[in-house]
Symmetry: C2
Subunit: 341 residues, 2 copies
């Protein structure tokens, strides 16, 4: 795989600012929240960018809307196809509905029911595939060809990355408005679109503040790719409860940005994500899904040390089935990292 | 009991505006949230004033801080006492800590653990009483006399009411900024301080918009008081899961305002509150405690009809034990009102 791309194909901070203008009145300017209890728990100041409060329950509508806006009328008229473990699906479905474009979404058969139902409720058609036996990119590409439709990628696209980057732009503005001097920003990392966009925005709007990614232990493709200097894949059959972060390999575009701008990657266990979901409900009063809680999990588990520091974490999504959330909330906090609560 | 008070003892919209100035940078300007899924569910537009995201997890710090700020230095120096089922306790404890005043809080022995622990974490002393055998006002008054301390009432005070009213002031400003024309505002009602303050603010900043209260079926003292034209008490031994809303009788001050400004009161069952907690977790990604969910519950259960309307509801607090929340989330939605989800 190519480990670098011509820089003219990469989005810039100006593309993020452009996306921010397009998203005004469309995406929610989600609050940057803080909890005295959470701060006491970790011995530092944690600012939480609450994308769980975003329309569709995750940041994904930002990139999806920005991408679809940039298509010409003829392309839009033929409809769009996308593939997603769920949050991008809802983002694309909602954006397509707002713009008036037909959408068909390829989803894994084991996607959380709440994500499937919500995607359908926005008016999209759903086509299922087997996450462990089929390659979703191929399923989606074949479907797009059959339908003559445009494929909206989940992260491997400049307009998508620029849209997701508005999370970082807002975060920088909100931290500055609150008088907070950030020591670091910590962001969940799956395909890498969110963190790449955030890193672009922060490099301009919060220069010098290091941006760290968080991956599940079993899906540490970006961590290994950064170490190797080229894109590495995850082993077939790897499992994690962080369904929003499970991709086969980093994107070429996203990795080209991330290798240049990220300060590093830390990893978390599934138990760390569950612990963070419990802490979020108790201290922040937020429902966060496992993958969306990855950055908070890294902080709470001590994988990323925030003692004495001011650190912003992105809580990227909250689309978790209530029955699963109930199981997580009912479980004891027995084995999660160094910080207990 | 007196059914009216001299109007000069009542707070005004100007007192609310004054409190808003004092609370800038102290209380969170909580977001007014909206969920496409929730709107679909009820067939109307519901704007949720998310006071669960307030410092201490409820609106109570607004009134407590405003009240303590107004005390003279000598009074502050002798410390304060307060009594509360939990949220006011945390609000007073946090406000006292910020201002540098010693606080002792009288709490019912069966208050949720999360509320007791959080109050203690703000540095307050806790004194317990039996909710069903002792009158908390008397316990607190005796304690204040013994300590020579100042008693901060939970709702029966102009500064408290004015502080809580900043919820309504912000709500009016945020709805206007979002271009939403409100058909009604629905607010949980316990002692009546929050709704009285909101009604004062809204009468000035959203004139003509009716304000409705919501009480638990078994604690409908304000509903009956409005009907009777004078304050009525709840029967001894009444029970509800809405611990934040359980008071023996409306306040004299709060009732004097509410009888003049409220459009009415609807009531909810405990099952309606549980249903609303589930819907809030799924659609809004918010943790709301039973009493804090009362207004949303009234909307979801069809007790307050929002079909085709734009209605703001106040989600007043989120301090619920995670294990209880887990029980509620795991339970089926079998018997709650006319709107299912």
């Amino acid at each position: 795989m190519p480990s670098s791309l011509p820089s003219e194909s990469l989005p810039t901070a100006a593309d993020v600012a452009d996306a921010a203008g397009r998203l005004t009145g469309v995406a929610v300017r989600t609050p940057l929240l803080e909890s005295d209890s959470l701060n006491r728990l970790v011995g530092g100041r944690v600012l939480v960018k609450a994308e769980v409060l975003q329309r569709t329950g995750s940041f994904k509508i930002r990139g999806a809307y920005n991408h679809i806006c940039r298509l010409d009328a003829a392309t839009r008229g033929r409809g769009i196809v996308s593939h997603s473990s769920g949050n991008h699906a809802q983002g694309v479905a909602a954006a397509a509905a707002m713009i008036g474009v037909n959408a068909t979404i390829v989803m894994p058969a084991d996607a959380p029911t709440i994500k499937v139902d919500s995607t359908r409720a926005y008016g999209a058609e759903i086509v299922f595939y087997d996450r462990y036996r089929e390659v979703r990119d191929e399923v989606a590409r074949r479907l797009a060809e059959t339908l003559g439709a445009h494929l909206v990628p989940p992260y491997e696209d400049p307009w998508i990355i620029a849209g997701q980057g508005t999370v970082g732009l807002e975060l920088a503005e909100q931290a500055a408005a609150a008088g907070a001097r950030l020591d670091a920003v910590v962001v969940p990392c799956g395909g890498g679109g969110l963190i790449a966009g955030c890193a672009l925005a922060l490099a301009t709007h919060a220069p010098g503040v290091p941006v760290h990614g968080v991956e599940p232990d079993a899906f540490d493709d970006t961590r290994r790719s950064l170490a190797a200097g080229e894109r590495q894949s995850n082993p077939a059959g790897a499992r994690s409860i962080c369904d929003a972060l499970l991709v086969p390999t980093p994107g070429a575009l996203t990795f080209a940005i991330n290798r240049r701008l990220l300060a590093g990657i830390v990893t978390i266990r599934d138990d760390d994500a569950r612990h963070a979901m419990r802490a979020a409900a108790r201290t922040l009063k937020l429902v966060i899904e496992p993958g969306g809680a990855a950055a908070l999990a890294a902080v709470l588990a001590g994988r990323f040390d925030v003692r004495g520091k001011t650190v912003a974490v992105v809580a990227s999504g909250g689309n978790v089935d209530p029955t699963y959330l109930a199981q997580v909330l009912a479980a004891p906090d027995a084995s999660s990292g160094t910080n207990r609560s």
